[in-house]
Symmetry: C2
Subunit: 385 residues, 2 copies
Amino acid sequence: MATTGTDLSRMREMNQLSIVWALRGNPPSTVTELAGRAGLSRPAVDVLVQSLVTDGWAEVEEPGANSVVGRPARRFRFRADAGHVLGIDIGVHKILVVLSDLEGNLVRTLRRPADPEADPRARLAAVDRVIDEVLRGAGMTPDDIWAITAGVTGPVDASGRTSLFTPLPGWNAADPVAHLGARFSCPIQVENDCKLAAVAERWKGVASDADDIVFLLAGLRTGAGLILDGTLRRGHGGAAGEIGALKAVRWLTAPGHLESCPGVPASAAPGEAAAWVFQAARDGDRDARTAVRRYTRDLAVGVAALVLALDPQVVVYGGGFSRSSDVVLEPLRQELTKHCLRLPELRASTLGDESVALGGVRLSLDEVDSRLLSDGLAAPSAPRR
Amino acid sequence: MATTGTDLSRMREMNQLSIVWALRGNPPSTVTELAGRAGLSRPAVDVLVQSLVTDGWAEVEEPGANSVVGRPARRFRFRADAGHVLGIDIGVHKILVVLSDLEGNLVRTLRRPADPEADPRARLAAVDRVIDEVLRGAGMTPDDIWAITAGVTGPVDASGRTSLFTPLPGWNAADPVAHLGARFSCPIQVENDCKLAAVAERWKGVASDADDIVFLLAGLRTGAGLILDGTLRRGHGGAAGEIGALKAVRWLTAPGHLESCPGVPASAAPGEAAAWVFQAARDGDRDARTAVRRYTRDLAVGVAALVLALDPQVVVYGGGFSRSSDVVLEPLRQELTKHCLRLPELRASTLGDESVALGGVRLSLDEVDSRLLSDGLAAPSAPRR
């Protein structure tokens, strides 16, 4: 029952953090408003928020001169630009880097094409160049970055490697965490692209109201990311969501129905072929509609396996093909009714191909928060690995 | 920062609960031992444990007269028999009721055959009779029971009904919670049998060291229960684990390979046929070994779907067929290597067909604990719904 000095200091730290949570993501707030949000007394909040201003976590907004009645209260605002994080999508065909402040406001987004055949050294050098361009544009150095999360295709283990399977040439031997760690001293993590995209959909996408989500990254390859009870499922070895590897669920062959559709221009690259078929189906072309129906029929087997296994609230159709969800979702829904006991809501992603990098930003912000919770609030500075 | 009277009273309650957790499941303990386990001071524990004795949650064990050196310390023990809970398996062919004290010690276990064709009214009347026999044998009345959890086949919704699908005749219209609630005023829940069996394996079975578990209830039907991050996955509508409903994963047809094995006695019931085949395979019969291999080949498709989707640490082969895991596990492992990126550990259940009722006991104990945490520690008495 005795309260020790350590307990009190820890309690002060927790109360200070609860003021940070109460400030962040909110408009400038008075002490009274903060006291209400944090469940603490006004005098206590007054002391805590002053020390946050001194440390550099918050700033004061003095009341404007245009107030006429009484003496308006000072307002406090979280210094969202006290630090920044990066979310990176290392794709087969593109590299996308997003720079965000500590409130998740996107400061810069930069996309550059990647050579599908590039070896890991060339691909990582390209990643470096895009990061440099982003930092330069924002007037920052690597020390200004507090956390980095990069997404790649394939199951990613705890060390950020993709040794089981990867479509990126040579990437099974790549060590992107070590590569980025040579220049950045902040925490760095690498995660599977579908998992990051799923996180983004719950953060800023069409599934922000749901806790149990099956996310589909649909394109020339199909992948899945799972969020259950609001938590990203990584799996014991980082390989959750890889149901597409099972031949019986037919995800490996599903997009082939699009590429082999009669009428597709012979010159079309695989990605262009799919886009052509979706557009032709939209225009009422009979062969194209058949091809889309066959695609959804095969896709539905794997989706149904996930739905029956997990009984999610929402299935999100995302990835490159989600631009054509207007012709995919209805036949997919019809196929799913044949397989499922209970049909979840089916929604189309609105984040498009930025979802992977956005999910990276979210995990980076989570990493910053968990450091704050475990290490406490010193003056703002980048966490170290 | 101010500590209010309510805070202090809540803190005392939390400290009292931490003494309950420190007592429970441990041998009789001294105040010093309890202080160490609960992280509280000796004088505080002295006061708290005395009030637990007064309330009836703990009892004193006076030091024996045979101690020779000094004055030995008094020891305190949790009164595990202050209350009891029931776990019930309402099966197609059997009803199994387990009575447990608050420490999870099984006081009574009673199994009675059930008529597979019984309608809900007759089946629930049979359940009542088995419960009565258990209570009578233990000298108890319904008021002595603090929580009940019953397991049934099929996806169970939040109200305890099985409206989507059930192999129990007429059970889609049954309301077992209401039926049991007519006699018992304690909390009652009904849950899917595979889910309860999964909980039991993590509690007292072969998966107590794992947090990510795929449990298979293997018999004439095959079902799955999922535990992720140590938490039972129910799914948004209670239908998680129902992957067996998907034709593509072949669980519906898998046991048929056993029943149609050449040499099975024509008079054998389906369950006996499977047992005959497993024994014949054990004895080296070629047809039987082929039948088992075909069974595992079909079973593996659904198991692989779950493994690829969830990347668990452990797959537990449980249910009635787990008695024959010696002839099933190795061919199943071989089939899984064909499908999976990363093979989890494959273990055979040791709980046999008591796992469903045992899992019910565990969820009942969890319910009692959550009531203690939310309502606080009054003198021991059955919680009310």
